[in-house]
């Protein structure tokens, strides 16, 4: 099957994307996030922050079915594919919205690869509005499942996973565990006996993160035991593409906001955007974003229509997105001058989300190393 020239992005995706855009802009996620942060500003003095989660907004989103858009019809999902999921996540990124929507969509692409009644059961819980996350990193950030150390024996897990995203917003965690060198995927209820959670204190204010320790925890098996963590390998292009879409959205906000500032901030009797030292880097940010956005839609359409080409397309997308994240955050803050460096400005919130996303699942250098092997 060939990838359609227009990425199979049509009226349907366009309507969905504008609906998400309107929704996010109506609830103004950052103003409610800010009130939850009061008193926690100073990392030397502040309390450990709780992951901010607008339950009402989540209930409204799930009533519209956005969390289930990529799940199979069998489970009650909309079966819409990665291009549609990317359109939604781009707007979540544009709003820097604290929400488990991203990890839940990622989980749905993992669940799709598990081919079991138990995985369909978890999918149905998502359809019913439950947020689900996933993870299997070691404390060094390694994604190699053969060294990650969660062991399964007769349905009971031992070990730990780290850097799990939006953990505090979710009820269940998907993870792989090994048994005699082979890997299967499991679901664990995060409040089950033997589970303990360490909440990380992180730079990004719009996400939460943590580690989960398992001491003889009951888990439900979701996939067969397979070599090479195949479930993850098959879903991985989708996961990389979704994070890249979030970056494309956040970076576009950074561009638009910095352009507006450059039009209104007067120095030397002119709006600073008159000066080429400001104008040209903003053009370069736009060029970065557009390249990333094109690669993101290409990767999504390739995943949906030509699975064998999905990995290189996704590696390119995340390599590009990671650079766009770094560059747009850097120029956005710098060109705002002093105000961009303050807590008061939303620029800092986006900056932190962007650099967090830059490193999620590997940065540009990481993905280029893997891509090079395919050239």
């Amino acid at each position: 099957m060939a990838v359609p020239r227009d990425y199979a992005y049509d009226e349907e995706q366009e309507m969905l994307k504008s609906a998400v855009k309107r929704f996010v802009s109506d609830i103004e996620p950052l103003s409610s996030l800010r009130s939850s942060l009061a008193g926690t500003e100073d990392p030397h003095l502040g309390d450990t922050r709780l992951g901010y989660f607008d339950l009402d907004a989540w209930a409204r989103m799930t009533s519209l079915g956005w969390q289930a858009l990529a799940l199979p019809e069998q489970a009650g999902g909309a079966d819409m594919g990665l291009v549609s999921a990317v359109a939604v996540v781009e707007e979540i990124g544009f709003g820097a919205m604290p929400s488990p929507l991203g990890v839940t969509l990622e989980s749905s692409f993992l669940l799709r690869e598990m081919n079991s009644e138990a995985a369909l059961e978890v999918s149905r819980r998502i359809v019913d509005g439950e947020a689900v996350t996933w993870g299997f990193m070691t404390s060094e950030g390694s994604l190699d499942v053969s060294v990650n150390g969660v062991q399964e024996n007769e349905g009971v897990l031992k070990g730990a996973v780290h850097f799990v995203q939006d953990l505090q917003k979710c009820k269940a965690l998907l993870l792989p565990a090994t048994n005699s060198g082979r890997t299967a995927w499991f679901v664990v209820e995060l409040d089950s006996p033997g589970t303990s959670i360490k909440r990380d204190r992180i730079v990004d204010l719009t996400r939460d993160q943590g580690s989960v320790l398992f001491e003889n925890v009951q888990a439900t098996q979701l996939s067969d035991y397979l070599p090479d963590n195949q479930v993850y390998q098959r879903a991985r292009p989708a996961l990389l593409t979704l994070i890249s879409a979030d970056i494309a959205g956040s970076a576009e906000w950074m561009l638009q906001t910095t352009v507006e500032y450059a039009k209104t901030r007067i120095q030397f009797d002119r709006p600073i955007g008159f000066f080429q030292a400001v104008k040209h880097p903003l053009v370069d940010v736009m060029v970065h974003i557009d390249g990333t956005r094109s690669l993101v839609y290409a990767a999504a359409a390739t995943f949906d229509h030509e699975r064998e080409g999905a990995l290189p397309a996704a590696l390119s997308a995340k390599a590009s997105a990671s650079e766009t994240a770094e560059f747009s955050a850097n120029r956005g803050t710098q060109l705002h001058g002093g105000i961009g460096f303050t807590w008061e400005s939303d620029v800092q919130i986006y900056h932190k989300r962007l650099i967090h996303s830059q490193h999620l699942l590997g940065d540009g250098m990481h993905h280029r190393r893997e891509l090079a092997a395919l050239l």
Partner: protein, 402 residues
């Protein structure tokens, strides 16, 4: 000149193009062709390339989607297919790239009915080569400050002045010409003409570039008579027409002219990968050096993005504001191409010093030559700095620099 075949769809047409290109690929020339059509000067190259372009035109690969009355083939949605097959086929470039890429789109938009009927068919067939007379010694990035002037005399205009950086001037029959018709109005005082190069008073003097090649020229115009029916659009509309020419030059990567650029940016990256894999130093291949590999892979990702930008620009919903993607093409393409050559010189190391004509030069010295020629792309047709002004002002809405 309708092609005597009907095609069911793009897939069938693509197969036809591939087959035709494979069957009709010309034998190489005795003296190798220069790297780009800019630098063609030898009569035997000219003849060879005119013949090649004319064959491709007759086969339907040029002017594929244009109306039959203007010399087109009357298809719909097939030009893109032909363009991409030509780029993949690794065949000689089209010599009349200014005619295809700039004159044709400008005349299609701004020309009179008879200008279109007269000029377009011989542009496509390469019977008439075109060149461009915009820049002057005193008017480069600030193009509208140009001083060559045209004065009305009855049904004609008398033109005096100098044009510079004129590619293909020595071979051309026609020139796109931008001149001043009103001294008191910088932008509104410009008018656009097409000028026959064999008119009395036109003289062409070659300029040697830093590469040593003489691709472009200085053109002097002394009391040159241009009939009023060779004026394009209204008197005083020259700036608008010139901007439309330059927008075509900067490439949108689509339309009638795109077919003129014979190799795709991705083919340069592929050649760079090959170069790294075949170069060894201290017993290691350059490709095994992670620093080199990372730089090349980064270029690969940027070129992939450029290619996808071209596709996204065609998507109804994802293209963004109208000119946002098309206006980026020239800037991004030219800077990537330059960096590709910089990386190639790094890989070559000391061998990068060997130039065209040295028996030991890798690939006949094409990387060093190509490196220097990339400045043609980053400087001509509006330098990268001007491109950033245009993008910042027209797309992002930032205050104008001028």
């Amino acid at each position: 000149m309708a092609l005597d075949r009907s095609f069911k769809d793009q897939v069938e047409f693509a197969a036809y193009c591939r087959e035709w290109l494979a069957k009709n690929r010309p034998e190489p020339t005795r003296i190798p062709l220069p790297q780009a059509a800019y630098e063609v000067t030898l009569p035997e190259h000219r003849e060879y390339l005119e013949d090649w372009q004319n064959k491709c035109y007759k086969a339907g690969l040029i002017a594929t989607d244009l109306p039959v009355e203007y010399g087109g083939h009357g298809f719909e949605g097939f030009q893109q297919v032909a363009t991409s097959e030509v780029q993949k086929a690794n065949v000689p470039y089209f010599i009349n790239w200014i005619g295809l890429g700039m004159a044709a789109p400008t005349l299609l938009t701004h020309g009179t009915e008879s200008q279109k009927r007269n000029f377009l068919p011989t542009i496509f067939s390469a019977k008439d080569i075109w060149c461009q007379g915009f820049s002057e010694p005193g008017a480069g990035s600030d193009l509208a400050s140009l001083q060559a002037k045209a004065e009305r005399k009855g049904d004609s205009w008398i033109v005096n002045g100098s044009k510079v950086w004129n590619s293909l001037g020595a071979l051309a029959s026609w020139m796109l010409l931008l001149v001043r018709t009103d001294r008191n109005d910088k932008y509104g005082g410009l008018t656009y003409f097409v000028c026959a190069m064999d008119s009395p008073g036109v003289s062409v003097k070659p300029i040697h570039k830093m590469t040593g090649e003489s691709g472009f020229n200085e053109v002097h115009l002394e009391d040159v008579v241009i009939p009023d029916d060779q004026r394009v659009d209204e008197v005083g509309a020259g700036w608008k027409v010139a901007m439309s020419t330059l927008t075509s030059e900067r490439g949108a990567a689509t339309g009638v002219g795109a077919v003129a650029s014979s190799d795709s940016p991705m083919s340069h990256v592929e050649r760079l990968v090959d170069l790294a894999k075949s170069t060894t130093r201290n017993g290691l291949s350059s490709w095994d050096d992670p620093a080199v590999r990372d730089r090349i892979t980064r270029l690969y990702v940027r070129v992939s993005a450029l290619v996808e930008n071209g596709k996204r620009a065609q998507s109804k919903h994802l293209s963004g504001s109208a000119m946002r993607l098309p206006l980026q093409f020239k800037l991004v393409h030219s800077e990537i191409l330059q960096e590709i050559h910089q990386v190639a010189l790094s890989i070559l190391g000391p061998s990068s010093s060997l130039y065209v004509g040295d028996a030991d030069a890798v690939e006949e010295g094409k990387w060093a030559l190509g490196y220097m020629n990339t400045y043609t792309n980053t400087i001509s047709g509006g330098s990268s700095e001007i491109q950033r002004n245009i993008l910042g002002e027209r797309v992002l809405g930032l205050p104008k620099t001028k």
